[in-house]
């Protein structure tokens, strides 16, 4: 328990340093695909990330990837994180990246915060272009992964 608390303090200080350099907190958009409207996983992820100092945009359920990409551009987020109880992540990652490329904004990262990810599929997710995957890590490690990738893109 003690260790968990120090981990959280660690990641908060990493986020604070990021915020000092970038001028704003890291901003992540949690998109809810799939057919479940009240997805508790997403609420949990949102709270965990906000507790670590992220600004979390929550997308309404049932948007398609075109609308989600447009919303991400309007809000100028750093990361879009996909969550779908159906698990069609490879499709979503590829399509979102295509949309972002058409606006010339491939600097926005894609992450996967869904819990329904088969272990053997993780490599393919990274291969299709995901920058961070939540499953099999904790939220703390997920946040650290996102932040280290952001360092490369922004600085």
């Amino acid at each position: 328990m003690e260790e968990k608390i120090t981990q959280i303090h660690d990641v908060r200080s990493i986020v604070d340093k990021f915020a000092d350099r970038e001028g704003r907190r890291p901003r992540i958009m949690l998109a809810n695909f799939g057919f479940v409207e009240n997805n508790h996983d997403i609420t949990e992820t949102a709270t965990a990330l906000a507790d670590m100092g992220f600004d979390v945009d929550m997308e309404p359920w049932g948007r398609n990837y075109i609308d989600v990409a447009q919303d991400a551009l309007d809000n100028d987020v750093h990361v879009i994180s996909v969550n779908s109880i159906k698990g069609e992540y490879k499709f979503l990652i590829v399509k979102l990246l295509e949309e972002l490329a058409s606006y010339d904004r491939e600097d926005i990262m894609i992450a996967v915060s869904g819990q329904v990810v088969a272990h053997s599929v993780m490599k393919e997710l990274y291969g299709s272009g995901a920058s961070a995957v939540l499953v099999n890590k904790g939220y703390v490690d997920f946040a650290k992964e996102i932040l280290s990738e952001l360092e490369i893109i922004l600085f």
Partner: protein, 392 residues
Amino acid sequence: MTETYKPEWVPEKDDDKFACRVMYGVKGGHEGMPGSNVDLSRKSAPVIKRSKMTVDDYVEGIIKGDRMTLSRAITLIESNAAAHFYIAQQVIQRLLPYTGKSTRVGITGVPGAGKSTFIEALGNQLCAEGHRVAVLAVDPSSTVTKGSILGDKTRMETLSRQKNAFIRPSPSGGTLGGLTRKSRETLLLCEAAGYDTILVETVGVGQSETTVRSMVDFFLYVVITGAGDELQGMKKGVMELADAVLINKADGDNKRRAMVTRAEYARILQFLRPATEKWETRAYTCSSVTGAGIPELWNEVIMKFFSQGKENGVLSERRKHQTLSWVYSMVEEHLHNLFYRSPSVLACKDKIETDVVEGKLPPTIAVQKLIAEYAKTEIGDYIKDTSPFAIK
């Protein structure tokens, strides 16, 4: 064929007499199995860095009405980094001639009053009439973790799909200082980008209502139906800022109660000073779900407010006052930053803090010491280095 090996108890020379073989176990990496043999090396595609935009890029993009430039410009304004501040102020300076032409409406109310639903209904109606609507929502951030959850688009689903609507939620960043400047400048950017109606929504945390009041022309206070006792507890200070009080959720069974509440508010409003000269603040009902009452509110109340205000000059007077108060709020913010970022203050701060906490130094003397340290700095040089407005 899966690989096999001989067990260790088989003697070397009698190997062919023993038929027992052991199969290798399953390595990890399957469902439910511990351990991972997944290669997590990075993506195949090269990393694309975020492009840097110049002042000209921002200005040209916004004048053309390009949504993406607007979005990135708002990020620039909201940034706390010193380098971004300099560029942001140049962008604003060059865009000032293009601003001032929109209808600015501020909307506040307690959480649960239905502001977002109302904004969605109003926004959809305005888009149908051909307006371009921008919605700026300020969501409070935690003062402890400084993170925030921005959920406005979940509550304005249909509006966020409209091509002519731009919704931008902003975190307040844990402190309310600097909120005035940033929200106001965001509003100016949206105006320059061609949005003719700007709706500013705030939850009503801290001083955010007075902040929003100082940015908008018309201020709307959204409430829900309530009994007489609840009305006594409402924020009278906010009521005095409002140009209209809107009782939401006047549909179905609630309609009668909404009428009663409206009468109560009308009674109370008679005793309060109106927020705008020559304008009477009244109470109205509407239903954001059925849309009843919203066209009337817009056309008969808000548009009348604007035409009247333009005729008798009240609107332009108010905007002049608002610009001046913007100047002074920026002065305060600047002084605040000058003090807290001054190197000599930072150097002595910790020692003074420990002394105060241990009781060795009275707080009032600590204040004098801190200010003396600050005044000792060569203020002239410090301003030259950090302020973009100073003459170099």
